[in-house]
Point group: C2
Chain length 157, copies 2
């Protein structure tokens, strides 16, 4: 599929951190709802992220499917594109903050990186602080081996 050599783990970590720290970076956020009948329903939406103290921070409205699913299931799976230079993150919810609760410094850093300020977007906004448990990064098939960079919340060295 490609002529490029697979990147080293160190290079993938560098590239992944650059991607997570980039201005106006969006992430695909996949969440799941447990339905009353025992079924599960998936949701997916792109959102702006900020990377603060090794956490992925999102902001969205309390009554969005994404916020409801993350708060009830405590889990999300995140994808940063493009699809042939992907970073996949399995993350657990560490904290959900209303505008009254959010630390000033976290909100400020989010606004700087994301390029918009959820504090000016209405009282229903929530900050969702997600702790990565597993991070994987790959471009093409030849990078599937060695794609895991973090496991159980710890960078692999």
């Amino acid at each position: 599929m490609t002529d490029r050599l697979p990147r080293t783990r160190e290079q993938r970590k560098t590239d992944t951190l650059a991607k997570l720290s980039a201005p106006a970076m969006d992430v695909w956020v996949a969440t799941a709802a447990a339905e009353a009948d025992g079924h599960a329903t998936s949701h997916l939406v792109p959102l702006s992220l900020a990377w603060i103290d090794e956490r992925v921070v999102l902001a969205t409205e309390a009554d969005s499917a994404t916020a409801r699913n993350i708060i009830s299931q405590r889990h999300a799976r995140l994808g940063l594109g493009p699809t042939r230079d992907a970073v996949m993150i399995d993350a657990e919810l560490e904290q959900a903050c209303s505008l009254d609760e959010v630390p000033d410094e976290l909100a400020r850093q989010y606004a700087v990186q994301a390029g918009w300020d959820p504090r000016k977007a209405g009282d229903r906004m929530r900050f969702l602080v997600l702790r990565p448990l597993r991070i994987q990064a790959w471009r093409e098939v030849n990078e599937l081996a060695g794609r895991t960079l973090m496991r159980d919340g710890a960078w692999i060295t």
Copy 2:
């Protein structure tokens, strides 16, 4: 966020069909698993798609989380990027075919568009034929109004 004027619905449909029909197009596939304890877990992965007879066709291994979730829940939510020119599709599983079952013409068309042939990728490959129920397309905030192009499986005219 942008100076561009919002596109008409007709233009968004044209752009969406062009995206779905593009060679080597990948899609973010979000699926959900219903866990035994009542929780739901989300999965997300980029896969190649083909757009055949108004269906999204995917191919992946039978024991992948994506195939297992789609076959058990009969549902997926799909996102085509980039995130600021997104197409979101809620789809139901119409058919899951093993290599023995897949119609030749469908497999052939998939290989032409995707640029690889699942029939050469091992016996565990499954073709998943998904029928779109809802399709939405937007670029920036000014396109959120009017983003729904298909509802209940029918294009809005």
